[in-house]
């Protein structure tokens, strides 16, 4: 399993996964993942639908805790501390590890309140108007909504909603940003804007990005992990980590046959 951990890593490791399996009831959705996520880098998760990318992503901010029957086995450390130990407060973890979901899910409230909510619950003491503007600017949404901050977030288009969700996530100044296909509902121009944003955020944030878009993975990420599905004898499909490497290497010189097929678009 050595290929899956960072070789000669000079960068700081923020998450370390050791034999992490995730179960929904008795169904093993993700099987025995070992990997190190480097700090202030962008790590991309790629792989076919249903291989457990979202599931694994939800482990990092302990969102799986909320899904009845979901169970995480193995060990995940965050800054060398066990993420699932008793003295780790999930609420605090989630403030420091923000998330953008696969489906845009703005609150059915005003655009302003969508962003202010996270700040309020976390006891933000600064200037709220300024925070709202700055977050929207960062998410490349400000110009489109600056005149209608009091309008319902749901009145925005799908892509605008997703950018609102990104703005909402960065408003609470997390350390890590988990992004589950943030651009799947966006047009190419907004996608580029988001990718620019991601590059910009990289200086201060660690980003884990799930994407189905190979170009995006090559453009945007430093590290890339390819997941695939194995089907057991009973027909259950579990995801596992096939290969994890620097993005350039993973795409140009994949070690595994299935990776090669997937990144070159010949996946069957």
């Amino acid at each position: 399993m050595n290929t899956n951990t960072l070789e000669n890593s000079v960068t700081e490791v923020i998450f370390q996964l050791e034999k992490v399996s995730v179960y929904y009831g008795s169904f093993e959705a993700v099987r025995k993942v070992y990997m190190d996520i480097p700090k202030n880098k962008i790590t991309a998760f790629i792989g076919p639908s249903g291989c457990g990318k979202s599931t694994l992503l939800r482990c990092f901010n302990r969102l799986n805790d909320l899904i009845p029957g979901a169970r995480v086995e193995g060990k995940i450390t965050y800054h060398d501390k066990n993420l699932y130990s008793k003295d780790m407060e999930a609420v605090e973890v989630r403030r420091r590890i923000g998330m953008v979901f696969q489906k845009p899910n703005p609150f059915p409230k005003s655009i302003y309140d969508n962003i202010a909510f996270g700040a309020r619950v976390n006891g933000y003491r600064g200037d709220m108007n300024e925070l709202v503007e700055q977050s929207l600017r960062q998410a490349a949404l400000w110009d489109e909504v600056k005149d209608k901050l009091r309008e319902n977030g749901l009145s925005l288009s799908g892509g605008q909603q997703q950018r609102l969700c990104i703005a909402r996530a960065i408003a609470i100044e997390p350390e890590v940003l988990l992004m589950d296909e943030p651009c799947s509902a966006l047009d190419p121009i907004s996608t580029l804007k988001i990718e620019e944003l991601i590059q910009q955020l990289k200086q201060n944030y660690t980003i884990v990005l799930v994407t189905h878009n190979m170009q995006q993975a090559t453009r945007a990420s430093d590290m890339a992990a390819f997941f695939n599905v194995v089907t057991s004898e009973e027909g259950k499909r579990s995801g596992y980590l096939v290969e994890y490497n620097e993005t350039i290497k993973l795409f140009n010189d994949p070690q595994e046959e299935s990776t090669k097929e997937y990144v070159s678009g010949r996946f069957g």
């Binding site: 009845p68 989630r94 979901f101 489906k103 909510f117 996270g118 976390n122 909402r168 609470i172």
Partner: protein, 307 residues
């Protein structure tokens, strides 16, 4: 791997895999529509016949004395004043008792302990309680609220009555609360939690406001069930002849009471024809109160849905 196209037959005019059969499907549509209409009309006709019957019977007595007079042995002077006030007291008290208890229990069961075995046991029990005949609640109210808790309730008082009615409608309010909470998409809860909100912060600022209109509707529907209940009130000993209004104070809670359905029931069971007319007029009053309550419910719901 290439997509295998050969297993899919070519589109041709002679042979299609689809038998669209529009006329047949439209005919089914039509039949279903007619069936639904028939159901609506049967219900509506029954209701209208009842209403018209009552209005014809009661209209002669529907005047100001009916509302301004206390009950009397003489039918021409008998009024509903104490019964109407008693019903309003009961409804207000029941609402005050039921809303926090029922909504609180609903939130607890749905949002905090949803997946525990005891929540499931409680859920089954609550659904069963909703179907228990109201007289059983009356008996419970008699032994607990009237007898056991007499030092607090003052015996056969309006407070004991409201507590009994609260028991009766609590299951409905709890179920309505849970249903409304369940209708709030989970993705919103996840969004809230992912921003580092605590459970209470997520519920109070994201989930509850969305569920509130539904909860309100459920509660008011439950209260409209309570307003017509006679059996439990008779069981706990509501009187039919009350010639005073309870003072608007804590002490007023402990006074004996009567309510519209009780008064109507009493009038109907008397031999004199005039009392039957008064009863019909009383039914109209009860219905108007009920309609007002439901209208309030709809108004409140729309008001909250707009925000």
């Amino acid at each position: 791997m290439t997509i295998n196209n050969s297993s899919r037959p070519q589109t041709s005019k002679q042979k299609s895999n689809f038998d669209v059969g529009l006329s047949r499907r439209f005919a089914l549509d039509r039949i279903f529509q007619i069936a639904c209409w028939t159901a609506v009309i049967i219900g509506l006709v029954a209701l209208v016949v009842l209403l018209v019957d009552v209005v014809i019977d009661g209209l002669p007595r529907l005047d100001w004395t009916l509302l301004s007079e206390f009950p009397s042995r003489r039918a021409s002077r008998a009024g509903l004043k104490s019964a109407l006030v008693g019903t309003i007291w009961l409804m207000v008290l029941t609402a005050i008792l039921t809303f926090p208890l029922g909504v609180g229990a609903g939130i607890f069961l749905e949002e905090f302990v949803k997946d525990t075995w005891y929540a499931k046991v409680i859920e089954v029990n609550i659904s069963n309680l909703a179907a228990v005949p109201s007289i059983i609640y009356g008996l419970l109210g008699l032994s607990v609220f009237v007898r056991l808790m007499e030092p607090i309730t003052g015996g056969r008082s309006v407070l004991a009555g409201a507590m009994t009615l609260s028991l009766l409608v609590l299951p409905i309010v709890i179920v309505a609360t849970r249903e409304s909470l369940r209708a709030v998409p989970d993705s919103l809860r996840q969004a809230g939690f992912a921003l580092g909100a605590t459970r209470w912060q997520v519920i109070s600022s994201q989930v509850f406001p969305l569920a509130f209109p539904g909860i309100l509707t459920g509660t008011i529907l439950a209260l409209s069930r309570a307003i017509g209940e006679t059996a439990p009130l008779i069981t706990i000993g509501a009187l039919t002849f009350i010639a005073f209004l309870p003072p608007l104070s804590l002490e007023g809670l402990r006074t004996p009471f009567t309510a519209l359905p009780i008064q109507i029931f009493n009038w109907v069971s008397r031999p004199q024809q005039e009392f039957h007319t008064a009863a019909a007029a009383g039914i109209i009053v009860l219905m108007v109160v009920l309609l007002l309550m439901n209208a309030t419910a709809i108004w409140l719901r729309n008001k909250f849905q707009q925000d």
